[in-house]
Assembly symmetry: C2
Homo-oligomer: 530 residues x 2
Amino acid sequence: MRRWNGWGEDSDDYALGDDARAFLKDRVGAGTAPRDAVLQQVLEALPASRLPSGAPFETEARLRVLHARGQSFPDWVALRSGRVGPCADGVALPSSHDEAAQALASARRLGALVVPYGGGTSVVGHLAVPPVDRPVVNISLERMNRLLSVDDKAWLASFGAGTPGPQVEAQLRSHGFMLGHFPQSYPYSTVGGWVVTRSSGQQSLRYGRIEQMFASGRLATPRGQWSVGGVPASSAGPDLREIVLGSEGRVGLLTEVSMRLRRLPEEESFHGVFFPDWASAVDAVRAMVQADLPLSMLRLSNEIETETQLRLAGHPQMIRWLQRYLGMRGIDRGQCMLMLAVTGTLAECRRTRRDALAIAKRHRGVHVGKGMGKTWARNRFRGPLLRNALWELGYAADTVETCVNWPAATGLMRAIEQAAHDAMAAENERIHAFTHLSHVYRQGCSIYSTFVFRSAGDPDANLERWRKLKSRVSEAIVAHGGTISHQHGVGVDHAPYLPAEKGALGMDLLRAVARELDPDGIMNPGKLFS
Amino acid sequence: MRRWNGWGEDSDDYALGDDARAFLKDRVGAGTAPRDAVLQQVLEALPASRLPSGAPFETEARLRVLHARGQSFPDWVALRSGRVGPCADGVALPSSHDEAAQALASARRLGALVVPYGGGTSVVGHLAVPPVDRPVVNISLERMNRLLSVDDKAWLASFGAGTPGPQVEAQLRSHGFMLGHFPQSYPYSTVGGWVVTRSSGQQSLRYGRIEQMFASGRLATPRGQWSVGGVPASSAGPDLREIVLGSEGRVGLLTEVSMRLRRLPEEESFHGVFFPDWASAVDAVRAMVQADLPLSMLRLSNEIETETQLRLAGHPQMIRWLQRYLGMRGIDRGQCMLMLAVTGTLAECRRTRRDALAIAKRHRGVHVGKGMGKTWARNRFRGPLLRNALWELGYAADTVETCVNWPAATGLMRAIEQAAHDAMAAENERIHAFTHLSHVYRQGCSIYSTFVFRSAGDPDANLERWRKLKSRVSEAIVAHGGTISHQHGVGVDHAPYLPAEKGALGMDLLRAVARELDPDGIMNPGKLFS
C-alpha cells in the first residue's frame, strides 16, 4: 500500500546505516525523531463534505484525505503533523473522457472549484485546495490508466491521461515500443501530469522532454471539449499544444494524450566517471553535449553531492577501495561524479561510449566502469524514499531545480547553495546543500539542488524554516536569470516568482488564455498565478 | 537589383531549353506570353499617401510599392498586371528596437494599421494591406540586419530581426558558427520572418525547425516591450516563445531574436538515390528517419516530380545516360528520386552515408553518386526563379505544402494532385502537378506539391483559376487531417482553413492572445484570422 504521508510503498524503506547517520550528524547536527499524526486522527478530524447529498462525487473521508496533498514541503508538514488543511469535498474518479467531462459539468452546476488529480506527486503544491467558502472537488484521472491505441507506422500511442509511468512502459513494451520518460516520480506520476507540468525525465538527452513527446491531447474544459495537436509539425499559427503543456489544470482537464514513441533499444548501460574538480567536469559535460554525442543521460554531481552519495550509499569498504583507485589516478578531494548513459543499437552504444569517454579523458575524467552505473540505474527511482528515512531521523529534505545558460551555470549553482546556508544561518541552523546538473542542452543545463536540515519539530516552525530557505533560494535563481523551474512546474510554491520570468505582459497573456477557456475561474485556482 | 514583380535579381534567369518547353507544352498546352505592366505605370497610378505631412514615415511611391506585396499567387497577379491594390501609406525603416517601437507608437497616434515587413517573401499573403478607410503603414525591419552579439559558450547569437539568410550565415561564419536554416526563400527571407511564420529549412532533419532554433526574442507591442524565452528549457508554465512563433505580426513587432547555433560541420555531401517506385521509396525514407540516422536532409520526389526535374534540368544527353544506367539496375518508369544529405564530422558522414545507403538498398534504391547531389545543392535556392521563366512563357505556378502522419501521407499526396486536376478540369484546362516529401519526422512527413498551368491572361480570370485550385487542394488537405501549412504559414490565403485545425476554442484562444497585446487590433489585421 502506498504511504499516505510520505513517498513510496509502506513496505519499502531506504536504510541509512551508521556511517550515513554519522555523516548527517556531522553536517547538520543530531535530529530529533518526530511525533507524526496517524491517519485515523486525520480522518476523524476531517470536516464534513459541503456537497449536497446525491452529488456525483465520492465523499468518503479516506478518499478525500488521500487526494488532498502532494509531495511538496508544505504537503509533508501538513500530512506528518496531521494538520491536513483544506480538503476537497468530494472526489470524482472518471473512467473515460466523457465521464471526466460529466464530472466537470457537475462541478460547474454545483458551483464547485476543481482541482485535477493525476498521480499526486507534485512537489510544488499543484494539488493545494484553496480555503474558500464554496465546495471544491478533485477530479482524479487514476482510473484512466490504459493504453487506448497504438499506431505502429506513425509511432504514436494514446493513453488515458492518468496512466502512471510503469503502466505506460509495460503496456507499450508488448508492442515493441517505449516512451522513455523517466522522472524520479515515475512510479506514480502520470502521463497527463507530465504534460500539464512540462516534466522532464532522466534520459531526456535521448528521449526529449515531454514537450517533444506530446503529439496531441484531448481536454474537457468549462467551455466544452478541446483538442490540440496531431501532426508531426506545422506552421499554421502558434502551437496550441504549448498552451496545454505547463497549463497546470488552469485551462481544463487533460483526459487523453497521444505520445510519440521510440523502439526499444538493443542495449543500454550506465557509467560512472570521476573528475578531479568541478571545472574540469563541467567543461567535459558541455563538450559532450555540444559534440552531439547520442548519449541518453549526463548527470553531473558537484563535490558535495558526490561525497554525500558515497557516504549515504552504505558500502564504506567499497568506497574506500574506490577512493584508493581514484587517488592513484590523481583524483582526491573535490572529486565530482558524472553518471552517463548510452542507449541504442549495439554499434551506437559502443561508439558513443568510446567518444564520450575520450572527451572525459581529455578533461582528466576517470571511468570507473559499469558497476557503479548499474547500481545507480537499479536505484534510480528510490531517491525520494530517502526523504522518509531522513524524516524519521528528525531531518527535513527539499529540492529546487532550475535551468540556465552555460555561462551562468556554475555561478548560479554556488549562489543556490550559498542562499540555502544564509537562510539557515538566520535560523541558527546548519544545512547540507548539494547539487547536480541533471539535464544538459547545447545552450545550458538544469541545476538540481537538495537540502537537508533538521526538522524544527513544531509544524509552524518547520514551515517557517522552509519558507526562508525557499524564498532565499528562489530569489537567487531569479537574480541569476534561471527559470523558476526546469521540471517541477510552478504550482503555488513558485507562483510568486513566475512574473520575473514571464514579464507583466506575459502574465496577462496567461491569464487571458485561462479566462478564455475557463471564464468563471473554476479550474485549479491559485496555481501558476492567482 | 531585386525584381520588383518576380523572384530574384534582375540579372538572374532560369533558362528553359527546347526540351523543357516541349515537356510543358505536352503536359498543359502552349502558353501565351503575358503583357506585364511596368513599374513606372504602377508608380504613376498609386494613390497619394493618406498620412499627414510630417508623419515619421517614408511616403515615396517606389518605396511603398516595393513593400506592398509578397510572393503569393495573388501578389504575382497584382504586380504583373499592374493592379497592385491597396498599398501602405508610408514605410518606416527603423534601425533598432527603440526606433521600431517609436514607429509603432507613431502608427498608433496616427490611427494607422501596421503591416510588418521582413524580406517580402511570403507566399500566403502575410503582407496584404487591408482595404480600409484609415492609414496603413509598413514597418520594415530590413535595416535591422546585423549580428548583435555571440555567446560562444552557450552557442547563442542575437540578430536584428530583419537579417536575411545569407547575412545570418556570413556574420556567424567568422565566429566558427552557423544557424543552418535554409528555406528556399533563404536569399531574402529574414530570421525574424522565419520565427513569426514558423519556417522550416531544407536541412531541418539536422538543424531543426525554427522553433528549435529560436531561443529568445524581443518585441515591440502596442502595450509596450515584451521579451520571451532565454533559458534552454523550462517547466514554468506555457512556453511563451510558442505564442510568438507563428504569430504573423498579430501580437507585435519582433525586433530582435537570439538563436541557437551549431558549429560549422567538417563535411557535407548530397546524394541522389533512385527507387523503382513510390511505395519502396517512401518505406525507405520512413525507415531512415525512424532509425534515427543523423542525416541532414531527406527529400523524396514522387514519379511526376522526378520526371519533371529531369526534363527541366536541361541536360538531355546526361539524363539519357542516367536512364540507361538505372534501366540496367531495374529502375524504369515510375522511378522516384531521393536527395539525401549527410553533414557532420568526417567519421559521422562516412557512417551515416553507409547506413542510409544500406537502408536504401534494402528497398531497391540505387545510389547514383554525388554528382547529381552537387548540382542539386548548387541550385538549391534557384527553384523560385523557374516561376519567372514559366510566367514569361505564359505559365503560372504555385505550391502548397502540408504535414501529416505516415499512414496518411501517400493518400494525401495523391488527393492533393487529384484535387488540382479536378479544379482545372472545371476550367477546361490541364495542370501539371508534382510532389515531394521535403521534411521527415519519426511521426510523419511534410508534403510539398507544385502546380503549373497556363496563365489565363486576364488577371481576374487568372485569379479565379487559382482560387478554384487553391480551395480544392486546401479542402483535400483538411479532409485528410493534414495541417494547412507546414512551413509557409497562414497569412490570408490559409486563414479560412485554420479553424478546421485549431477548433473553435483554439481560434478563440488565438484571438484572445492577440487582443491582450494589441487591444485595438492594429497589428497585421486579417492574417491568421479576421
